[in-house]
């Protein structure tokens, strides 16, 4: 499974970012190989339409699951249409690695 996680920094120890469209980094993580790569979120620098810009990036990278604190209506519509599953972090802050582990244990809430 290919995951995308919104993060404040560019590594697995980084705290996650609860904002999806405006997070500085998006971390692409492959659960089969445990390989990962950090990308600057193209949404972060937009004056408007950040959620759609970030969602387009996730769609273009053929992710299966996107994990963040929340999703705006535009991003959510794009993910629904692309059949990309949205999962939410628990309330307390955690690192990207922890978010990956929680996903693997199937402990992340679905965005409804």
């Amino acid at each position: 499974m290919k995951l995308v996680i919104s993060a404040q920094n560019s590594n697995l120890e980084s705290p996650v970012d609860n904002r999806f469209g405006r997070s500085q980094w998006l971390i692409l993580f492959d659960t089969q190989s445990d390989q990962w790569k950090a990308f600057q979120n193209p949404g972060a620098s937009q004056s408007g339409g950040a959620g759609v810009a970030a969602a387009q990036f996730v769609v273009d990278h053929a992710a299966d699951v996107v994990i963040s604190g929340d999703f705006g209506p535009n991003a959510a519509r794009a993910f629904q249409s692309a059949n990309i599953e949205m999962r939410l972090f628990p309330k307390q802050t955690l690192t990207v690695q922890e978010a990956v582990d929680l996903y693997k244990n199937d402990s992340l809430r679905k965005n409804t």
């Binding site: 408007g48 339409g49 759609v52 387009q56 769609v59 794009a78 249409s81």
Partner: protein, 287 residues
């Protein structure tokens, strides 16, 4: 003559000043009043217009003709506002992000995009107290984009000789304010001597310098705060045209829907002098 009344900070008295100026000049010339605060228009409370016609404010948004679309993604690429996204072979349109610029339609190599109207609000025209022609734009709740309505509202009255147009600007110092200020002869800045008032006044002065529009200051709630306003006035050399003292009785009357010149009729003379000063400053700036 076109005068915009702006402030930066909300609640400094833009509408109080703009409507009182309109009422005071109504014997002098034909007055047209434009309430450009399309997210929360309230000048009608003081000018009491009877609206005669209402029309939809629309922008043109793209509609993809699926039979012609090859999903090349060019429209998504050229959209500056991320109002389009591509998911597989589908192009998604996000109407609330669309500015109606037409880039997608223009750039589509297959001519697969047609434009359809999307209503974002209303435009109204009527006649208010003392025969003031009144124009109001209103953005539909949940619609995010004010500038197209303001642009269309201003087009309802082209500049005309011998007519005084007064534009009541929205609060803030963003696109909608710039749209209101665009092309006016003069900006009347209403401020109050508080840290927020001053902070936003500085932003407004910067915008007006960029737009090359002459400005003058109205200090409302004069007497509160401290001397930091004096520093700005001296540094920026902006003329102070009017001071309205802080007065609880006045505040109560305004809250009850009475205009400043109703509560204090002597202010009509004050606003007429204010207009003379504005005329001189505009003339001076054109030399």
């Amino acid at each position: 003559m076109q005068i915009a009344v702006a402030s930066g900070k909300g609640g400094t008295g833009k509408t109080t000043i703009a409507t009182s100026l309109a009422l005071s000049l109504s014997n002098l010339a034909r007055i047209r009043f434009f309430d450009c605060d399309v997210e929360a228009p309230n000048s009608h409370i003081f000018l009491k217009p009877r609206f005669e016609d209402i029309s939809p404010a629309v922008i043109q948004i793209p509609q993809i003709q699926i039979d012609k679309c090859t999903a090349c993604g060019r429209c998504v690429e050229v959209c500056e506002f991320h109002a389009l996204a591509q998911v597989g072979r589908n192009i998604l349109v996000f109407p609330q992000l669309c500015h109606g610029c037409g880039s997608c339609t223009w750039n589509c190599p297959e001519n697969a995009i047609i434009e359809v109207p999307n209503q974002i609000g209303t435009l109204e025209r009527g006649v208010g107290r003392e025969n003031i022609e009144f124009f109001r734009g209103q953005l539909t709740i949940s619609e995010p984009m004010a500038t197209p309505i303001i642009r269309q509202l201003k087009k309802m009255g082209r500049p005309a000789e011998g007519t005084i147009d007064i534009f009541d600007a929205p609060p803030g110092a963003s696109c909608s304010v710039v749209e209101t200020l665009h092309g006016v002869d003069f900006a009347l800045l209403v401020t109050e001597p508080t840290p927020f008032g001053l902070h936003d006044l500085k932003q407004m002065l910067g915008i007006l310098r960029d737009l090359n529009i002459p400005a003058g200051l109205v200090i409302n709630r004069d007497g509160i705060g401290d001397d930091s306003l004096v520093d700005i006035i001296e540094k920026q050399q902006i003329p102070v045209l009017l001071r309205v003292p802080f007065d609880r009785k006045l505040a109560e009357s305004l809250a009850a829907g009475q205009s400043l010149v109703d509560v204090m009729p002597s202010y009509r003379q004050v606003f007429m002098r204010l207009y003379q000063q504005i005329s001189k400053l505009v003339e001076g700036s054109k030399k």
